[in-house]
Amino acid sequence: MKKMMFGWSGAKLLLWASLLLTSTLAPLSVFAQADPASDVIPAPKEFSLSTADLVYYAYWLLALLVLLVIVYIFNIGAASEKLTGRTVINWTKVNAWLSIIFLVAGSAGVAYELVYHGKLLLPEAASAHGDSIDNMFNWTFGFTFAVFVITEVLLFWFLFKYRHKEGRKAAYYFHNNQLEVIWTVIPAIVLTFLVLRGYSTWHKITQTPEPKAKQIEVFGYQFGWKARYAGDDNKFGESNFNFIDPATNELGLAIKPTVVALRDTLMADTGRLGNDLRNLSSMLKTKADQLAKMSLAADGKAYTDLEREMEDIRNGNKASELRKMIKRKGVQIQRINATLDSKDVFNEAANDDKITTEIHLVKGQPYTFRYRARDVIHSAYMPYFRAQMNVVPGMMTSFTFTPTKTTKQMQDELKNPEFNFYLFCAKICGSAHYNMKIKIVVESEAEYNAWIEKQKRVVDPVQPATPVAPAEAKDTTANPKTATNRNIKPSLAMGF
């Protein structure tokens, strides 16, 4: 070799590259403060070097050191090889020993994980079926861990044992039917066992009817959960996504006055949108006047936003958007009207339902959670109960389980008075996916009864039918069809 492959220039380059990377990736309160644009960035509360920071620096230093060592070993090795013509480092030996070291250190690491992180795992299941899942897990763990240890040890041991030696020839060994049959059959038997056991566990959890189960509806939306109890009549009222009004009827329950009020709001909206559509040119003029009074320098984003709105009006985007909205609301109004007379939908069962922001359960009572989603798929995850089910718009899913430990019991068991059960979202569902939880309280029957008493019914029994605009509502219930047609027609004509 004429030229040393990685000369000093190479080493320097690596060094600089690593320094550059280190400094760019460093988080550092230090860096943030030194930043000239510190008035834009909210300055950190105070400057202090915590242990975490120090550890962090130590990591970086370590990484840098490792790199330096690499560069040095490499240079010295290459240089002396060039001088003496002898191999300085016997890489076969090094790699063989490294694989043994890896095996030993890896085993220590696994042991550490099992002991130290093993303690942080979920405690015993707080539900009746949870034990069977944990049991299944332990069986699987037993088998897989044994296979894991045996095969990994063999792998790295073989690597060490059969490392290259000058003059030795490998065995010409290519085939052994017996052996292959053995290691096909053994896994097959083990897996048959696991499949059968898994099948019975799965069947027990998902396909065994629980006649005594009480139903609770859990409603997922961007970004939160609501629960609904069936109330005294033990019957859930009907619900429909067309009835949803975030202010008065967030679950979309079939409560006639509320739904009628919603329909009227929608009709008013369509009328207004129709007007907007007709008056787009004057709207453009107003906005132009407004823009003339503003300046880019002074108003910044407001200015550009306004500009964009005007552009949308000019190129017809605004008009098509309005038409779409009118059409969408028109469809919703029609759907509401189609159900308004139905005694099956508006059967008053919803009136005594209770919508709550916490889920309270009685210990030992089986429950079926019926899940509804408002907008996108969510997943209702309750790890302490070993329960999870996706919450899918357009279809009802459910999960049945029996809580077996009260919140209080769990707090004592974990020695954590702050502990609470939560149901949280496990399926990516938008920007605030990580902000979606509802508290679950497991308690005694008496405590539960006291709590549920205090929860408000959807419709107050004393003053029935008091939604937003009672006067209007009364008017429209009298003759919904004509009311709709009268109000909707002009806007629809504009819409299509």
């Binding site: 943030a32 299944m136 085939h175 898994g198």
Partner: protein, 632 residues
């Protein structure tokens, strides 16, 4: 269009006609150049994907820390040096997309199928070099479109790499479901075109263009793996294309394939009724599951070749290896439901899918035991390629075993969408496949660039990456078992999970360490292309046909006739031979029995004298071969 025949004629006369820069380096139809193009694009995408992972790892480890420098690079996505929650989702999504499709599908299978199928089968080029070129350029276009989505106002797709509707279907559901999502879908559609063009080509080349004596049972396991991979891709990618098209329709043309009964914040009740979001999941995972084998099988093929060559032993149980690849391929089509145990799918279906899923463990176990027996009593040379192959086997074991938990419907109830899943697939298809890719790069670098990579840097690269990968993914199993859900930007509302903060920091540091290790690789790779030590024609003393070609790349691969093949590819350390290898093309009386292959009864499949005339003909006869009859 240059055809294989034309190459042959020219090559015979050593006629190196001059090619313009564009024909040679850009719109090249030469499979070796195309494979380099795939590799380098794959590496570039890999670097992007890895940097993204480091960004979101920083957020997970130090959620309250301000990284001023991030604002400098990312602007409004990292206001005040704190990653935006939407951008976090985008990073997670695009990291997954890039790694799964662009690096581990195109970068791995694209590179090595292109390089090795003609060389190891003994063909002048692919069945259709032109389609091959198109395949690369569709892939390139697709990469550009995907990267473009970073520059649109609402940001790139951010509904997770599986882009489940309705989240991905509704523009107002999250910022990332705006124009960025459209670009994602277009990119994937282009990608699928690329994958299909490639797949058709690989299959027809393997079936029709093998040299004299190269019967199917003498094919190296790499080719078997690429062959099954191509079949999987050809059968499953169109389904994803369908899924993506329906999603485009739902997004842009008001259809309701995946939408029903939705009330969206800021919009109100939607008109769509009758669709099902679960339909999308079925379609997606019908590709999605074979996809993990599309990723993994080429890596397993490469590993088989590298392990046999460097242990200087015949691969143990050649037939069993082929049969298990075949078994995995067939089974991979009927297990997709295990991604959907808790979507509300009929629980009975769950039991069926659980059974089928766990059956896959059997061929996988056979493969692992065969690898181990191949090493047993070998004479193992520690080339970096060999180390990476061993790394793959190690990851394949530790990641594969956790599949037995997740394939079990009952256990999946509690593990679904937790970090346990993240740990599982990052080990078994992420780390394992990328190690297969590294192994292939180190092993065939001399073939691709005529030079050797530096071994010392290779060793450091291996050990650092190997240790870092375990440090990153092993602790995640425990997080998952504690119920920590994946794709969480922060644990502010579930403070009980903050006990894992320390572990998250360790993982991030390990991830950054892995990043550093890749700097070593990149340096080694690009430096060696130009300045590496010159390689001999057969640097690893390997048996397979690609090492019988000259070091300098020529059109048509072999200057003279394509060599005839006399025996299987794994005749290492034969007792009757002085040397410990016995190349396939060296004439010799005996057939060899390295994999128990009987004397081939079939006539030579493809010979120099009867070259495939056009791409169309080749495809046609490939079809004939697959169907087993002649349509006439």
């Amino acid at each position: 269009m240059s055809t294989a025949a034309a190459h042959g004629a020219h090559a015979d006369a050593h006629e190196h006609h001059h090619e313009s820069f564009i024909r040679k380096y850009i719109f090249s139809t030469d499979h070796k150049m195309i494979s380099r193009q795939f590799l380098i694009t794959g590496i570039v995408m890999g670097v992007i994907g890895m940097m993204m992972s480091i960004l979101f790892r920083l957020q997970l480890a130090w959620p309250d820390q301000k990284f001023a420098i991030l604002e400098f690079f990312l602007g409004r996505w990292a206001k005040g040096g704190v990653l935006d929650a939407n951008f976090y989702m985008a990073l997670v999504t695009i990291h997954g997309t890039i790694m799964v499709f662009y690096v581990l599908t195109a970068g791995l299978s694209g590179t090595f199928s292109n390089l090795l199928i003609p060389l190891q089968c003994g063909a002048r080029d692919m069945a259709s070099p032109f389609l091959n070129m198109l395949s690369y350029w569709f892939f390139f276009l697709s990469s550009v479109v995907l990267c473009w989505s970073f520059f649109v106002e609402t940001g790139p797709a951010s509904a997770g790499w599986t882009v489940y509707p309705p989240l991905s279907a509704l523009e107002k559901a999250m910022p990332g479901s705006g124009f960025g999502m459209t670009l994602w879908l277009v990119a994937i559609a282009l990608f699928i075109v690329s994958a299909l063009l490639g797949g058709v080509n690989y299959i027809s080349t393997v079936l029709n263009m093998r040299t004299k004596g190269m019967s199917m049972n003498r094919l190296p396991l790499t080719i078997w793996a690429f062959f099954f991979t191509a079949i999987l891709g050809l059968l499953s990618f169109p389904v994803l294309l369908g899924a993506a098209l329906f999603l485009i329709f739902d997004r842009s043309f008001g259809t309701s394939f995946y939408l029903s009964d939705i009330w969206l914040n800021g919009v109100g009740a939607l008109e769509n009724v009758g669709g099902s979001p679960i339909l999308y999941q079925h379609l997606f995972w019908f590709l999605g599951h074979p996809e993990v084998y599309i990723i993994l099988m080429p890596a397993l093929g490469i590993t088989s070749e590298v392990i046999a060559t460097n242990a200087r032993k015949p691969i143990f149980g050649y037939t069993a290896m082929v049969i298990s690849l075949m078994g995995i391929s067939v089974l991979s089509f009927i297990v997709w439901g295990h991604h959907m145990f808790i979507t509300g799918m009929n629980p009975f279906l769950g039991s069926v899918f659980m059974f089928l899923t766990l059956v896959i463990a059997v061929p996988s176990a056979v493969k692992v035991f065969n690898y181990l027996t191949t090493l047993w009593r070998g004479n193992i040379r520690f080339t970096p390629a060999m180390l990476f192959a061993i790394g793959l086997v190690s990851f394949f074991i530790s990641g594969g075993l956790t599949g037995i938990y997740l394939g079990n419907a009952a256990l999946d109830i509690n593990l679904h969408d937790s970090y346990f899943v993240v740990a599982h697939f990052h080990l078994v298809m992420g780390s394992a496949a990328i190690f297969g890719m590294f192994s292939g790069i180190y092993h065939w670098f001399p073939k691709m660039f005529g030079r050797l990579m530096n071994n010392t840097l290779g060793y450091f690269h291996f050990w650092l990456t190997f240790i870092a990968a375990y440090l990153v993914f092993f602790p995640m199993h425990f997080m998952g078992l504690a119920g920590v859900p994946r794709r969480y930007y922060a644990f502010s509302v579930l403070p009980e999970f903050n006990v894992w903060l320390e572990v998250n920091q360790l993982i991030t540091v390990a991830a950054i360490m892995a990043g550093f290790a890749q700097v070593l690789f990149l340096w080694n790779f690009f430096y060696s292309i130009y300045r590496g030590k010159k390689s001999g024609p057969n640097p690893w003393n390997s048996n397979t046909l690609e090492w019988s070609t000259p070091v300098e790349h020529i059109h048509g691969n072999w200057p003279g006739e394509i060599p005839t093949v006399y025996r299987g590819p794994y005749e290492y350390s034969r007792e009757d031979r002085e040397e410990d290898f016995y190349p396939q093309h060296i004439p010799g009386d005996d057939e060899g029995h390295g994999h128990g292959a009987p004397k081939t009864k079939t006539a030579p499949v493809h010979t120099e004298e009867a070259p495939a005339a056009t791409g169309g003909n080749v495809l046609f006869s490939a079809l004939k071969k697959v169907l087993g009859f002649s349509p006439r």
